[in-house]
Symmetry: C2
Subunit: 211 residues, 2 copies
DNA sequence: TGGTGTGAACAACTTCACAGCG
DNA sequence: CGCTGTGAAGTTGTTCACACCA
């Protein structure tokens, strides 16, 4: 259980496993073997077993894994056995889509505060209940509402400055939707959700194929 | 220039490089060294040089890379020296945000057809001009409009079936926003944009840190 | 018997370090 | 002299193959 040497990819896969297990659970399937789980996630069966083995011995030899139990363990590992308080910065089309995204609250991710720079938007109340704060209130609100994760949905031009403010306000983790590589100090985490990079990958492969 | 052994991560980084180079170009910076470019992308300088070396010798020893020239080459490699015809399936909040996303057309990615399953939406015209087609028209429209990339923004429950229809209609590449691992046959490509997986990564690291 | 858990083999990717060239 | 291009070394992640155990 040496955390430091766990591959980042393992964590990503745990997330996939948990999703599949949720589905199995609601289909009333109680036991699953690494082969089946692997297939559903598009990975190698040995990979599944190794990923899980980093954190303990959750399976039963000759049988497989108990779905409910394994799901519980994975959620505990990922920190999904609790809720997470998030702030959203940038209430454009994407921001609104994120607020409306039903998977977030289902997994315990809650937007407890939202911000925008546009004075015309500040003060308005969203259908989901939150009042839009101005960026100048960011520090105060983040601290007051004990926000742990910042979600940046601003234009690229404002993303870096926004990240700075979030970090200064005490946020440790950022989910960045802006198409820019954000620079952050040691000890903080950024995950990027980058549509165009993904599209560029597709374009590349389509281009290669045609050659 | 053996395409088969180019790391997937290299392609992703090329996409980042192109973005940074665009920015440099509009700042009228003509030459950049691998150190600087690497720093802006958060990678190792040797990595930058190696990535580029897969595709040719674009630099000048003792000098660096000419921004304009390098950008041109990278865009050619990625297939960004042309436009790409895309279809969007699922006109919910996320779908609308994608349509409004200004970076897509800027990079040559165009939504030339949009689809939804909801009869109340079918036939309506979007502000961006497209008329919403029903899913039953998918095969016909995809072929007629020569669509190359399918973008899935449906609920998870419909994503697999949608992928199937796209592939049957001749689409080779899919950008999937639904939180599910889509199964596709050999020779097709899927890229997943997965918000919750990214959030789970953040939650994991925050949880670890606290231990 | 059948599927997990795991060391050992393998494969992939990254970084180093320096030769080579403008 | 300075920065690229690149073999070689190092690191990280994946797959194999089988001992082990319910």
């Amino acid at each position: 259980m040496k955390f430091s040497k766990i591959p980042a990819a393992t964590i990503t896969r745990l997330s996939l496993y948990s999703r599949v297990l949720e589905e199995l659970l609601s289909s009333h399937i109680n036991i699953i073997a690494s082969d089946k789980l692997a297939q559903k996630c598009g990975v190698n069966p040995a990979q599944v077993r190794k990923d899980l083995a980093y954190f303990g011995e959750f399976g039963v030899r000759g049988v497989g894994y108990f779905v409910k139990e394994l799901l519980f363990e994975i959620k505990k590992i990922l920190g999904l056995n609790r809720s997470w308080r998030m702030a959203l910065i940038g209430i454009g089309n994407l921001g609104l889509a994120l607020i409306a995204h039903e998977n977030f609250p289902k997994q315990g991710y809650e937007f407890v505060a939202v911000f925008d720079i546009d004075p015309k938007k500040v003060g308005r109340r969203l259908p989901s209940g939150q009042i839009i704060h101005g960026i100048d209130e960011l520090d105060e609100v983040i601290k007051e509402k004990k926000i742990e994760i910042g979600v940046i949905a601003t234009p690229a031009s404002q993303a870096q400055a926004t990240a700075r403010r979030l970090i200064d306000a005490g946020v440790k983790a950022i989910l960045n939707f802006a198409p820019i590589q954000i620079q952050i100090p040691e000890g903080f985490i950024v995950e990027n959700v980058d549509f165009t990079v993904k599209l560029d990958n597709l374009a590349y492969h389509l281009t290669m194929e045609a050659v």
